[in-house]
């Protein structure tokens, strides 16, 4: 049952939370690790290899099978619609996706414009509500868009609401909640089934 397992982990804050969760689930991992500039981490005692990826890229590694499992945000999963199995909600890095804009404004009647780094989520949401909108793709500092008149609304991740507030924006609609999920490659899920199911069970017991 101890075949090697490759786990794609998001770099940064989520890594630490997820790594902590694995330690709680009794995986024999080194307590402190030096991650500066490293992209791979071997843990021979557990026969696990971690690959450290940009959070948005985790589902890509898993879909193509270069990682057996991975930890990915629900926002990324919704946006990219990749062929991975979603096995467990780890309930870490929780936040939500919402639309926001300047206070007391309505959508432009002719061509409502939405700025977002989640074009698929935003367009699906407005279609579902029966509104045709124009999506403007941005990569960061989304809050700028309504302030300088690029868009009527933004669709983005909100965790505390502090950033919105500081930029004079208010939340309009709650779109969906987001947390980190354990995902698996379909072939790995079958070929390393026992190991993956065991990992899911152990993590499940630690998830609050």
């Amino acid at each position: 049952m101890n075949e090697p397992l490759t786990i794609a982990m998001p770099k940064g804050r989520i890594f630490e939370e997820a790594y902590e969760l694995l330690i709680q689930a009794n995986f024999d991992l080194p307590e402190t690790i030096d991650l500066s500039r490293k992209l791979m981490l071997e843990v021979p005692s557990e026969n696990i290899r971690f690959i450290l990826a940009k959070p948005m890229d985790v589902p890509t590694y898993v879909e193509h099978g270069v990682a057996d499992i991975g930890i990915a945000g629900k926002d990324t999963l919704l946006e990219q619609q990749r062929h991975v199995h979603e096995l467990l909600d780890l309930k870490i890095s929780t936040c939500h996706i919402a639309s926001a804009g300047l206070p007391n404004t309505v959508l432009d009647e002719i061509a409502p414009r939405i700025a977002t780094k989640y074009p698929n989520i935003a367009s699906a949401y407005y279609r579902e509500r029966g509104e045709q909108v124009e999506i403007i793709g941005l990569n960061g500092s989304i809050e700028l868009a309504p302030m300088i008149g690029l868009a009527d609304r933004i669709v983005d991740i909100v965790s505390t609401g502090q950033t919105l507030k500081e930029n004079g924006l208010v939340e309009y609609e709650y779109i969906t909640n987001v947390s980190s999920r354990l995902v698996a490659n379909p072939a790995s899920y079958r070929m390393k089934n026992e190991r993956i199911i065991d990992l899911v069970k152990r993590l499940k017991a630690c998830v609050k």
Binding site: E63, R181, R190
Partner: protein, 389 residues
């Protein structure tokens, strides 16, 4: 769109260069002999079919079909799978000659272009269909054939996961209130989104019993140790008894190590009605193939007959297969024009002995030292006689 450069191909289209061609051809030959020996007849169907028939009845989503229009204004599709054209030809012709039919194919199929790499829009499949035999032995034959073929191709580490479309449908349907809830839960299982499944169950209006039944079913069915565990979720036990029988037949055949049962398997191929399975192997992250029983499909073409089959993808098989070392000797006959007769004779002899022999005149190439390197043996036929190297 930017200007198309000379080297570019349409999105998702791939060339088959000599190295890959040889490997695919090897699979084709092995498959040809393998299926023939098992009494399967090979057939081929047209690349284009009517959208009204094959396009509509195939389980491939409409948005994934390649469509075009013929000169009479009919909508055509590039065949999206082989099962549907075979259902057409079996229903309307072959089944009138004999029943059951055992048919095999090796063919390319087309699915709409996807923007990202790793997802070709045209790929080859190899598969079989057993049509007109509704017994459990037809199901068994298809599963065993899959297993033997994988072994014959030298793949050691693979798994066939078997589920049942009817059992899953019965369990979900009994525990939801509306058709929309059923469709949503089924789709979540097609995507293997267990988290979403639980979330959906929580937010649907269901009785407490229904909600807890669905959740415990998913939990148990994904780590099944004994098929009997599923029994408590079913009123009608017929299908489960069938699956138990199938499991014991597979045990008699001695293939348990390759099979696993998972009753949460749901397929985007919505024509499956009974037993269905997926094939996975080590070294490739994609499902190599799938199969199952589809008892409703032939009715669309006017024959009320049962059928079961499977298809494997050649590109993923290549990833899973051990590397075939090409040990074949290749000989170069390098001749000067005056010695043509002698060179022809030598070449013919070598070819009759089964050597792959290339004839090349010295006048036709510039750097012959470089050219010679790709051959295992070089014969120079010059004015001074013949020299071997």
């Amino acid at each position: 769109m930017s200007m198309i450069r000379p080297f570019e191909k349409p999105l998702g289209m791939r060339d088959t260069l000599p190295g890959i061609f040889e490997k695919k051809e090897w699979i084709r030959q092995v498959g040809r002999e393998f299926f023939s020996l098992r009494g399967f007849d090979f057939i081929k169907t047209p690349t284009l079919e009517y959208y009204e028939t094959v396009g509509r009845f195939s389980a491939i989503l409409e948005s994934n079909l390649f469509k075009l229009v013929d000169s009479q204004g009919n909508t055509l599709v590039l065949r999206p799978d082989m099962t549907t054209p075979i259902a057409r030809i079996a229903s309307t012709k072959l089944l009138k000659e004999k029943v059951p039919q055992r048919l095999a194919y090796f063919s390319n199929v087309f699915r709409a272009q996807e923007l990202e790499g790793g997802k070709p829009a045209e790929f080859e499949q190899m598969g079989i269909e057993v049509i007109g035999d509704d017994s459990i032995y037809a199901d068994t034959e298809v599963i065993l054939t899959t297993i033997d073929l994988m072994k014959r191709l030298g793949i050691e580490s693979f798994k066939i996961t078997i589920g049942h479309a009817g059992i899953l449908e019965a369990i979900i349907r009994k525990n939801v209130q509306t058709e929309e809830q059923f469709t949503e839960l089924h789709q979540l299982l097609v995507n293997r989104n267990y988290v979403g499944f639980e979330e959906a169950v929580d937010c649907f209006v269901l009785t407490t019993e229904q909600a807890s039944t669905l959740k415990s079913f998913i939990e148990e069915a994904t780590s099944l140790t004994n098929m009997r565990q599923i029994s408590k979720y079913l009123y009608e036990k017929e299908a489960l008894i069938y699956m138990e029988q199938l499991a014991s037949i597979l045990e008699i055949a001695g293939v348990q190590e390759y099979v696993a049962f998972d009753f949460t398997i749901a397929s985007h191929m919505n024509y499956y009605t009974g037993m269905m399975f997926e094939v996975f192997a080590a070294n490739t992250g994609y499902p190599i193939g799938n199969g199952g029983r589809y008892n409703g499909l032939l009715e669309n073409f006017g024959a009320d007959m049962s059928a079961v089959g499977f298809a494997l993808r050649i590109d993923y098989l290549l990833e899973a297969m051990p590397k075939i070392e090409d040990e074949k000797e290749s000989v170069l006959i390098l001749f000067v024009s005056t010695q043509l007769a002698q060179a022809l004779e030598q070449t013919q002899q070598l070819r009759e002995q089964g050597y792959r022999t290339t004839m090349q005149s010295l006048e036709g190439i510039e750097n012959f030292a470089q050219y010679e390197k790709q051959f295992t043996k070089v014969v120079r036929v010059g004015q001074g006689g013949t020299s071997y190297e």
